[in-house]
Symmetry: C2
Subunit: 271 residues, 2 copies
Amino acid sequence: MTKKELIEQIKTKKSFLCVGLDPDLNKIPQHIKNNFEDVIFEFNKQIIDATAAYCVSYKPNHAFYEAYGLKGYNSLEKTIKYIKEKYPKHFVISDAKRGDIGNTSTMYAKAAFEDLNADAITIAPYMGKDSVEPFLQFKGKWGIVLALTSNPGAFDFQTLKINDAELYKHVLKTTSTWGNDENMMYVVGATKAEMLTDIRKIIPNHFLLVPGVGAQGGSLEEVCKYGLNNDIGLLINSSRAILYADASENFAKAAEAEAKKVQQEMSNYIK
Amino acid sequence: MTKKELIEQIKTKKSFLCVGLDPDLNKIPQHIKNNFEDVIFEFNKQIIDATAAYCVSYKPNHAFYEAYGLKGYNSLEKTIKYIKEKYPKHFVISDAKRGDIGNTSTMYAKAAFEDLNADAITIAPYMGKDSVEPFLQFKGKWGIVLALTSNPGAFDFQTLKINDAELYKHVLKTTSTWGNDENMMYVVGATKAEMLTDIRKIIPNHFLLVPGVGAQGGSLEEVCKYGLNNDIGLLINSSRAILYADASENFAKAAEAEAKKVQQEMSNYIK
């Protein structure tokens, strides 16, 4: 998907919501577990059908599938296939946080872009240029590099100062020269919204994938205040607040209502 | 597996070789591709049977399986199951370079330790403490944190100086307080062997997983000179030099000869 196509979707839907598909068997409603063979896929399918009108992106996090082994990996493949067939204009992010030496990263890129057919993959930057570049060689596909994450551990290394600039700023400055704003995005946690002012000075035009709104405590208003650019430039992820809005047979309706609520708040920021 | 058990294996076999199981369909001999349904598993099986006597560890890199989707993931599961059943004393490393926010890292830990039944998993440190700690909560299992990797990109961020010490040294100092040398190891590339002197000052007792000997150009002699400790303290990985020592029907014999050659060199360092 091109940047132009993504922006068109955002403007059409008046939404820059990404729904994180993190299925946890401990939280999936009992009636789904009782009635379906592929519980994870069925849960996702109902969540997707309920929220597709209010979001522009889906982000399955691989951990929640790999934890269930081969069966989980099968659910992941089916989930992305379902989205791509039924909602082909939605931007699918393989949230895998991969990164390895050059020839190995190429194999991860094939997994995400050729096997799974995702539009984007999240990437850990620690291993440097040859670990990131292979993800940027696929036409119409995106690498989304971790810059400043939403978790407490972000302050262990990402904010260490190197010559008066934090590590995450070096990551932004350096990695942004390896691609461009048509094939790269960055992860910036909503829990650090005030840091977006500095981040926008370094990468004014890149899209940011922003986790941490909702269950992790980040504020949509704060993120928009500091992070919006002329193209909107944000994909704001919500996972648990939508997926587990309700634990009963009503879960999909509750997820729809939650996604719609976020979309309506977002519509205020889209001219 | 405990540290004591690992050291016993090393002393018994006079080897601290880890064979990297990175199956690449472009390099697997044609007769395997012609004759077997699960080409990757059959290739691995023959490599494992040929090398088990000369190594103490196997390290499948997930990328080389995930690139082939569900079928590849199945081959990965079967490969580890085969090792665990036939060679239960071999230390199996899931080379996945994972890392995510706390609750998500727990799911990755389950994938590696419960589903795949690996003894260890490689971890990317960028996301900090809550991304690493979940891997250290499983009895008898190990987290292997990326410190200084073997690739050219290691010099992009890992060696940036923060208050006169490079980032990778901060990673060693900080992360080593989150666990101990009975549940943590570190990745240090053989291509940076001279840096092992400083590394051993920070973590004298931890095992190091050392990739980069062989195809990537690192020297076993140099790594041993700077990296050995009283427990040996090294697992030296070789992948391509062993797996693809020969592309004919003779590949397993050639892999055996290559593994034996490395083991014999290693035996000189084990009293």
